[in-house]
């Protein structure tokens, strides 16, 4: 019984840490979870994941240094960032609740998929040229700036765009590219 109470407390603590925004970026680093939940925090995160699954949510672990292996080490987990994301897909009705316009989403899809197809970086002017095909001129620069502010894209001093932390956390790149290629005329 005591053990159960102990884990319920830890689960509550983990949920608060993961859901509430503590820094500019959402989510928490592994070492922060370790500090609050103890060294067996991966087990608590796994338990929380089981609770969140029926609610269409999951805890996602993203490494800022590259892709995490299937079985990451504790050290890799400590350095990674943990987020709660929507597990399944959102339908168009649910998307309206997120505050995104359909044009903004398709613009982001075009920018992200072009960058992926170019090996992870693409000149801003190329992305702008692609967006110009479907969006009015006055919205193109505005949209890219919004994606940059949101943490989806990052621009370097040479005007090259890369995928930023939020794209890595929220977008399944393989699914996106495969789904795009499946679009029929």
């Amino acid at each position: 019984m005591k053990r159960k109470i102990f884990y319920v407390g830890k689960l509550k603590n983990a949920a608060h840490l993961l859901f509430y925004k503590h820094h500019i970026k959402p989510g928490v680093k592994g070492w922060e979870l370790k500090k609050s939940l103890g060294p067996d925090y991966p087990k608590i995160v796994e338990l929380l994941n089981n609770y969140l699954s029926p609610l269409n949510m999951e805890v996602k672990t993203v490494s800022e240094e590259g892709e995490l292996p299937e079985k990451p080490t504790l050290d890799q987990l400590d350095k990674a960032r943990f987020y709660v994301t929507i597990k399944g897909n959102l339908d168009q009705k649910e998307v309206k609740a997120t505050g995104w316009r359909i044009d903004d989403i398709s613009g982001l899809a075009v920018a992200v998929s072009h960058i992926i197809s170019q090996g992870g970086k693409a000149p801003r002017e190329e992305v702008e040229k692609l967006l110009r095909e479907k969006l009015p001129e006055w919205r193109i620069s505005q949209s890219i700036d919004r994606y940059i502010r949101g943490g989806y894209l990052i621009e370097d001093e040479n005007g090259l765009l890369y995928l930023d932390w939020r794209s890595k956390a929220e977008i399944n790149q393989k699914t996106l590219i495969d789904s795009l290629l499946e679009i029929k005329d």
Binding site: D91, I105, G119, L180, E182
Partner: protein, 271 residues
């Protein structure tokens, strides 16, 4: 090589550097450059370079080319991953597909982060309590006024008691030590350690410090007895300078350790 040809060759090298830099900066296809051709162009001019600037330019061109080869290697690696799809094919699909369809596809791959920015009643209560206890900004940032105290007098005894000044002046102390040295060195000299070692280690350090001034001002001199491997100090009965004029110009470091002092005082004092 004529100056005209040299100028042309330098321009060619600069062109190679600019090309490599632009491909790296703009993320363009690195295979558009024929590496073999560029290498032979660099090789062709290598023997002609004479000045430091020309050689630097040559090194920069080689460096640019090596970066380009690395880009080519990364390019191949990227194409071998499961994520690689032909950008032209993808571009064509994106151009043809309506916005709604692209958004629909994106939603299959998009799993937005869930985050809360909610204020609880407890937090509001805590914040209110903090606000109540917070002093107005004028009071918190009030400038510290200069505190003035009336002018008073302090006696010499009080200054000595508070260890602000010494009871004796420095020169008096030096004079006393010199007289002591003259008395102790009956045979004309005394072993340095025998002279400076006192009952306390602090006093020993103080004597060593004052002795160094006696030597510097020419009131004593050091002698090294090779047979004993010992340093002796000899008072100079008729010094040339005054007690504040520098005569000795060579620095001789002599270490004084607490262990040595303890050993020498064994039997003389109890630690």
């Amino acid at each position: 090589m004529s100056s005209r040809d040299r100028k042309k060759a330098v321009e060619h090298l600069q062109g190679i550097i600019d090309l490599c830099n632009s491909i790296e900066a703009k993320g363009r296809d690195p295979f558009t450059v024929d590496v073999d051709e560029v290498i032979s162009a660099i090789k062709k001019h290598l023997g002609d370079w004479k000045s430091f600037e020309e050689l630097c330019l040559d090194a920069e061109a080689v460096d640019g080319l090596s970066s380009l080869i690395k880009l080519q290697s990364d390019w191949i690696k990227d194409r071998s991953t499961s994520l690689y799809r032909d950008p032209f094919l993808l571009g064509g699909i994106i151009k043809k597909a309506p916005n709604e369809k692209i958004a629909e596809v994106f939603l299959k791959a998009w799993h937005p982060i869930v985050e809360l920015e909610q204020m609880s009643a407890e937090m509001l209560l805590l914040a209110m309590q903090y606000w109540k206890g917070l002093l107005p900004i004028d009071e918190r940032w009030k400038k510290q006024e200069n505190v003035s105290t009336p002018i008073g007098f302090i006696s010499r005894e009080e200054l000595v008691r508070n260890k602000i000044i010494s009871e004796k002046t420095f020169n008096t102390e030096l004079n006393e030590l010199w007289n002591e040295l003259k008395q102790d060195a009956e045979s004309g000299e005394i072993r340095y350690q025998d002279f400076i070692y006192a009952d306390t280690f602090i006093e020993t350090i103080k004597r060593a410090y004052l002795t160094s001034f006696l030597i510097t001002y020419g009131y004593a001199t050091l002698k090294f007895h090779e047979s004993e491997n010992e340093i002796y100090i000899q008072p100079i009965k008729a010094p040339k300078g005054k007690l504040d004029s520098k005569i000795q110009s060579i620095s001789i470091p002599i270490s004084i350790s607490m262990d040595d002092w303890r050993k020498s005082r064994k039997g003389v004092i109890k630690n």
